[in-house]
């Protein structure tokens, strides 16, 4: 006799990010529910999974039940890239159950499904939508089969038939303790959440027997390619990307003098926050960082939230992007989530084997997010930073910092503690001129300069100048000339 545990095969769903969220894919022969309000993408998800998984050896049956007229469904679903005409009638068959459903006799519906399943021997079965089946039964005022019995019998039929099954249905009341939920092995809940004028699509795996799903609401997007689920960024296996630099190596910043201020450059794999007021030169510093990488053969990735693409972006950076040394993450989509940006960044890092990443800036990033994500910005950002760090890349983030001279802060989000190094830039007034100063505030586990250095920006970029000697109170914005010891002694004598 064979002993051991039953082996559950997990099927790749063909939906980007969904397998991660499901905890490894769709369990074969599972009985699943895809539920959510109208327009939340249930049918699209069903179709995408079906076209990905259906083969002549594992054919799929897609039962349509009233609800959406099948002609309409075919009309719209074929617009998606995954809709594969070649699979039609060989691997994928659509069957309409309108006549059986209209009779209001759920036994008839079950009977027809059973007969078709026996005739076709499918490995995948979809019923869209189960809600229509139920409503049809109710409207007749009949009690042929209760909803629960219908679902249970269908579940039994499909499991013993060894078909992975999906019941698709609009379902609005989440709190309703519907008996279906106890029967289903998997429950995928889709929804659209609105806040202000922004609508964000979210998906939740409320249940998936036998595997550890990623809890929580996961945002997804529907494009012509189909559904993309943005799983929270996972910690990658360290150093799977990027050129192999010796541990403890330091990256040059591309600004003369800055490496020395940082104790020899930015340690590899660190995250650096560059904070400063508007126009102080944060983006220029970020470009210099990427350009320096390109000079030593390292690729970079930038997510720019501030500037319009190819406008007012420095020429050097534009050239790097054109040459393909620096990848750009598209940040123009409306209602972004941190997870989506994380996924885009990590995909781009992997593609280019990039070792330098720039996010310019966190303030713009926050504005680009859908309002619903702004509350959790700090938490998500922390996840993003650790996920980026785990790819082995070195990250530079800029942050807008309002100049407040009575309040020394480095970032508006408390992001300072998230990062390994901090550079702060400020404006000061000296001799009726607005001057810029820069200081290295922190480089974790490393000695660094504590100088407040003047700097200016010219054609070549950032030029670090001398320490403003003989002045004090620089961080107050209005430095005063330090009194010499002899001056004060003389004054003391006078008194």
């Amino acid at each position: 006799m064979k002993t051991g545990k039953a082996v559950i095969n997990r099927l790749r769903s063909g939906v980007q990010g969904l397998d991660e969220v499901l905890g490894g894919g769709l369990p074969e022969f599972s009985f699943n529910l895809i539920a959510g309000p109208p327009g939340s993408g249930k049918t699209t998800l069903g179709h995408q999974i079906m076209f990905a998984l259906a083969t002549p050896k594992r054919p799929a049956l897609y039962f349509t039940v009233l609800g959406e007229p099948p002609l309409k469904m075919l009309r719209y679903q074929q617009q998606f890239d995954f809709f594969d005409l070649d699979k039609l009638n060989s691997s994928v068959r659509f069957i309409n159950l309108a006549e059986e459903t209209a009779s209001g006799d759920l036994d008839k519906v079950l009977g027809r499904i059973g007969a078709e399943v026996e005739a076709c021997g499918p490995g995948l079965v979809f019923v869209d939508s189960f809600r229509s089946v139920i409503l049809a039964g109710e409207s007749e005022g009949t009690s042929f089969v209760s909803l629960q019995r219908f679902i249970q019998q269908l579940g039994m039929l499909m499991t013993s038939w060894q078909a992975t099954t999906f019941l698709i249905g609009e379902y609005v009341i989440e709190s309703d303790p519907n008996p279906i939920f106890t029967v289903a092995d998997g429950l995928i809940w889709m929804r659209q959440s609105a806040q202000g004028n922004s609508v964000v699509r979210k998906m939740e795996i409320m249940k998936m027997r036998g595997q550890a799903t990623l809890p929580g609401l996961h945002t997804f997007r529907i494009s012509t390619a189909g559904i993309d689920v943005f799983a929270p960024p996972q910690l990658a296996v360290l150093a799977e990307t990027g050129p192999t630099l010796p541990a403890g190596a330091r990256l040059r910043m591309g600004v003369t003098g800055l490496d020395e201020m940082m104790g020899g450059g930015l340690p590899r794999g660190f995250s650096l926050l560059v904070a400063g007021p508007s126009g102080s030169g944060k983006s220029i510093l970020a470009s210099a960082f990427l350009a320096e990488g390109a000079r030593s053969g390292e690729n970079g990735v930038i997510a720019a939230f501030e500037q319009r693409p190819n406008r007012s972006r420095g020429q050097a950076l534009a050239d790097l992007i054109d040459s393909g040394r620096v990848g750009v993450v598209d940040t123009r989509a409306p209602a972004l989530s941190v997870d989506e940006i994380a996924m885009l960044l990590i995909t781009e890092i992997r593609r280019l084997k990039a070792s330098r990443v720039v996010i310019d800036s966190l303030s713009g990033f926050e504005l680009a997010l859908a309002p619903t994500f702004r509350d959790d910005f700090r938490e998500s950002l922390s996840r993003l930073v650790s996920a980026l760090a785990s790819t082995g890349a070195t990250v530079l983030m800029t942050s807008e910092l309002e100049d407040r001279y009575n309040d020394l802060r480095f970032s508006p989000y408390g992001t300072a503690f998230l990062t390994d190094a901090i550079i702060v830039q400020r404006y000061i007034e000296v001799d009726s001129r607005l001057q810029r100063v820069m200081a290295v505030v922190k480089v974790r586990a490393s000695a660094h300069s504590n100088d407040l250095r003047l700097f200016h920006i010219d054609e070549e970029g950032i030029r670090i100048d001398a320490v403003l000697a003989d002045y004090e109170g620089l961080l107050g914005g209005r430095p005063t000339r330090r009194q010499r010891l002899s001056d004060s002694l003389m004054r003391a004598d006078d008194a």
Partner: protein, 141 residues
């Protein structure tokens, strides 16, 4: 694209040219429609097919008054007796032309909704035995 419809049209016109009577043309037309119904109704439902059929009659009736009577009569899903009777009262050439136009409109209508490739794929098997089977049948007495 809708070359399928044209192929069926041509086969019917061929029969008419060979001097087959209108009753035979009508029988052949109806058997084609049954095949269409059989191919589509599992997917879009018998009522779905019937609705498309009725819309096709509506669109062609101005040019073919014979079809107007079919449109105005009571249509049951999957039932083409009215069409048979209307066609059989025409000359065989007219019957072939009227049915050909109706079929073309039906195919075009479907293609406008679900696209030419899907239409072609779903109705590929329709009328496959027309040129051989039926033609042989009608030549025998």
């Amino acid at each position: 694209m809708q070359s399928e419809a044209r192929r069926i049209q041509a086969a019917l016109a061929q029969l008419a040219a060979e001097g087959v009577d209108a009753g035979r043309i009508a029988d052949t037309a109806v058997s084609t429609w049954r095949e269409v119904d059989a191919a589509l109704s599992p997917i879009i439902g018998q009522h779905g097919v019937a609705a498309l059929f009725r819309r096709s009659l509506y669109l062609t009736r101005a040019d073919f008054p014979a079809l107007a009577t079919v449109h105005d009569g009571e249509l049951q899903p999957g039932e083409f007796a009215a069409l048979r009777s209307a066609l059989s009262q025409q000359t065989s050439a007219d019957a072939a032309i009227a049915n050909g136009a109706l079929l073309q409109v039906f195919y075009d209508l479907l293609a406008s909704m679900i696209g030419g490739s899907l239409t072609e794929r779903l109705l590929r098997s329709v009328g496959n035995n027309l040129s051989s089977g039926h033609a042989v049948q009608v030549t025998s007495p």
